[in-house]
Symmetry: C2
């Protein structure tokens, strides 16, 4: 509960029109894109600038009120669910492009800008910002930075972290700091820039970011490779990379995902094959042609039924869009869709796909798999119903086994979705007690009162890891 005193002081900072503690307003921000998590915040505040955020943070420190910074809430780890109540901080007034610097190839933005709006502004200048999370039509750059978002082009171009050059951040003590610069190199002290990227709003509130841009590639080509054997598709992924080709995109979709997507998007996807790889390469024309030819040969050697190159940019775009809508398409099929992102070394993709299918069968669950296969980053997605508590229990057991398997294969519990509340109980499996304790030292150093996005990353209790006898 927020007292009238605190509410009045918030109003004096941001104006009455930017403070909302109505039941309706609180309900809207009680959940994010993650199923199964809901919790009412006490108040919603929309600051207009960095200085106001610093004042809000100082006020919340004084009264020990949790602050949950929130972009569009498209994350899938309950990273913006206000599980401990408090104040939800919105960035709707802080969504401007501050500058596009064509000499230094950078863009400086406020955190509330929609990812795709920023990408369009950049592309209008003939420049390229590669990170393209599937939610980019809705997600904000601030959210992308807090979650270190990936996307379809991560294989060749890396993730959000690889493009953040400088940040302005309000710390939990109200200090405003600037990290980095429009600089290709900067080793002045610890790398705070990358520490904030992916810290899920638990260490500071990002109020401005300078991002690296690169020249737009000259051309690109898109291909679908069709397989009647799921593992052959997965093996092709490792084989392409082991052959020293790094495509821009190397996505995997299994048959149930294909059927759902085709039913949703109607673009003529093949639904009679067990799996497809969506492969894209960009660069100069001759490199793209040569790489695509080699990739086609490698897929056919692994018994691909056929390989088909998109005939036009429209057709290619339809294929990419089809992949991006996979979650929405699957979400129509059952009341609850739980999408995970277990990630393994690329060489282990075939083993991981096999294990997911075995685990789904063992627990009699409907799990579709798609994802960024070239990154080893799979999205096993369970179609279920939260009202069926018995089934949900099996879902939880199945995902625990999937995480366990990913870690056994040298992987991780989350490749791009973050820890949030949802993965927190499993974090110790990946990091060990010692790793968690090192991370807690950072959290405590920055935020001793634990007011910034509390309950995220660090679980109250970790799950016991059951060692599977092999």
């Amino acid at each position: 509960m927020i007292s009238q005193i605190v509410k009045d002081r918030l109003i004096s900072i941001v104006g009455i029109e930017n403070v909302d503690d109505s039941k309706a307003g609180r309900l809207v921000y009680s959940y994010d894109a993650t199923p199964q998590f809901q919790s009412l915040p006490d108040i919603i505040v929309s600051p207009r600038n960095t200085q106001e955020i610093a004042e809000i943070v100082k006020l919340c420190s004084e009264f020990k009120i949790p602050i949950v910074p929130r972009g569009s809430g498209t994350n899938l780890c309950a990273g913006t669910c206000p599980t401990e109540g408090g104040l939800v901080l919105l960035f709707k007034h802080m969504n401007q492009i501050i500058d596009i610097d064509e000499e230094n190839l950078t863009i400086t933005v406020q955190p509330g800008i929609i990812t795709l709006d920023m990408i369009h502004a950049v592309e209008a200048k003939g420049l390229f910002y590669p990170p393209d999370p599937s939610s980019m039509k809705i997600s904000t750059i601030g959210g992308n930075i807090n979650e270190n978002s990936g996307g379809l082009r991560g294989l060749k171009y890396g993730v959000t972290r690889d493009y953040v050059l400088a940040l302005e951040v309000v710390l939990p003590n109200g200090d405003i700091i600037r990290t980095g610069g429009k600089l290709a190199k900067d080793v002045a002290g610890y790398d705070l820039t990358r520490l904030f990227v992916g810290s899920e709003g638990t260490l500071g509130i990002i109020t401005e970011a300078t991002l690296k841009l690169i020249p737009m590639p000259e051309t690109k080509k898109t291909m679908l490779a069709l397989f009647q054997d799921i593992e052959a598709a997965a093996r092709s992924v490792s084989k392409i990379i082991a052959n020293r080709i790094i495509p821009t995109t190397l996505e995997f979709l299994d048959q149930p995902t294909l059927i759902a997507v085709e039913d949703f998007a109607n673009i003529g996807l093949p639904t009679n094959v067990k799996a497809v790889l969506l492969i894209e390469q960009d660069g100069s024309k001759d490199v793209v042609d040569k790489d695509m030819e080699k990739i086609a040969t490698l897929c056919l050697e692994e018994n691909a039924e056929s390989v088909e190159i998109a005939k036009s940019e429209e057709e290619a775009d339809a294929l990419r869009t089809a992949r991006r809508v996979a979650l929405s398409a699957l979400a129509r099929l059952k009341p609850t869709t739980i999408l995970e992102d277990a990630t393994v070394p690329r060489s282990e993709i075939a083993k991981m796909v096999r294990s997911i299918n075995e685990i789904a069968e063992k627990y009699q669950l409907n799990i579709c798999t798609f994802g960024h296969a070239g990154d080893g980053n799979l999205h096993p997605t369970c179609l279920t119903d939260v009202r069926n508590t018995e089934e949900i229990e099996r879902v939880e057991q199945a995902f625990a086994e999937i995480f366990e398997k990913a870690i056994d294969l040298g992987g991780t519990i989350t490749g791009e979705h973050g820890v949030g509340v949802m993965k927190a109980p499993y974090l110790e499996w990946k990091l060990g007690k010692e790793g968690i304790s090192a991370m807690k030292a950072i959290k405590t150093g920055f935020d001793p009162l634990n007011i910034l996005n509390p309950g995220k990353v660090f679980a109250k209790d970790s799950r016991k890891r059951v060692v599977i006898s092999t």
Copy 2:
């Protein structure tokens, strides 16, 4: 001073042959490549494995003995000078390649391996590890990671940080943790991997690293562009990048550097021009040809006297080697060579070069300038003599003004050399009190007893920043 009890316990951990407290041994490790810093350690210890390092750390915690981890000591910020005495930790027994994984494109190594030895092993497999600090013939990968080393290929390929995927680290409390993995994506908690990169041995001791490799580019070409106007050379740098070309290498050498290098290396460098740019592009043949042609045109538009493409790989290699030996060549001219690495946004290179020359003139100093111009990372190098205390006072004032100017242009006090002891007094100019205090929170959280490389990064006092009236 180390007591006999501690010495005996060190001997019991690593064996008598790996402990040295002789005067001669201590003298050898009393300095690194940085001029003007020398301080005797108490004892030199060479552990054989991670477990021994953990035991040494626990022992040093118990007796509050400083530990200075040291590769080859090629750093230029006094980062491995044992300014507070204590124990110097050598990695001569931990210099093995653990595995080269051709499916996942990674190499896993112990920290003591020489950078160039590792690069040769990688290239033998047709793979590529881009970071190439000028000291790579002598430097170790552990040192490169601790300093986040750059190099000549940083413009296109980034720095050491961009290639570190996973680390094994011994923390100041003796805990052994593993961060990351052979993974393209991993967001399981805070990015400890990148926090350790560039932390100068102050947060943990790196005992193993997995590095990302990429396919070897198909071909490369090397060019020299000759200028009679230093600022025209500098302007060409920004112009090339603003024209959407990112060369692999874009190095600047002024006339005094050229003369010194030619005198040292005798490879026929032009010594009658005011500046040269050494430009390299790699990739597919047609891209390289097209980019080099465009770069030549841009340089000629900026009044380059001529542009010359190396006729053979031998000639190109001679040019690269010439650039790499610049420090050694300059170091022959006067008793003391102080090399700095002020870094600015690329668009400000011309202004920075002009300011360096104005400052040199103002203080009547001999300052040559060369460096990674494409990264905005210049190495103004002062040829002086530490025994001339009056001149050294002017040198210090001049460098303070150079750092001040770099920061005013949106730059930083160090692009790739690190802070160490040498830059510590200036760090606050870049970060502000609030930034320093955020970094100190991390240091205190990890190392409350301040035993790991004490005196580095954080200065006892910061220099007052004199605001120059303009």
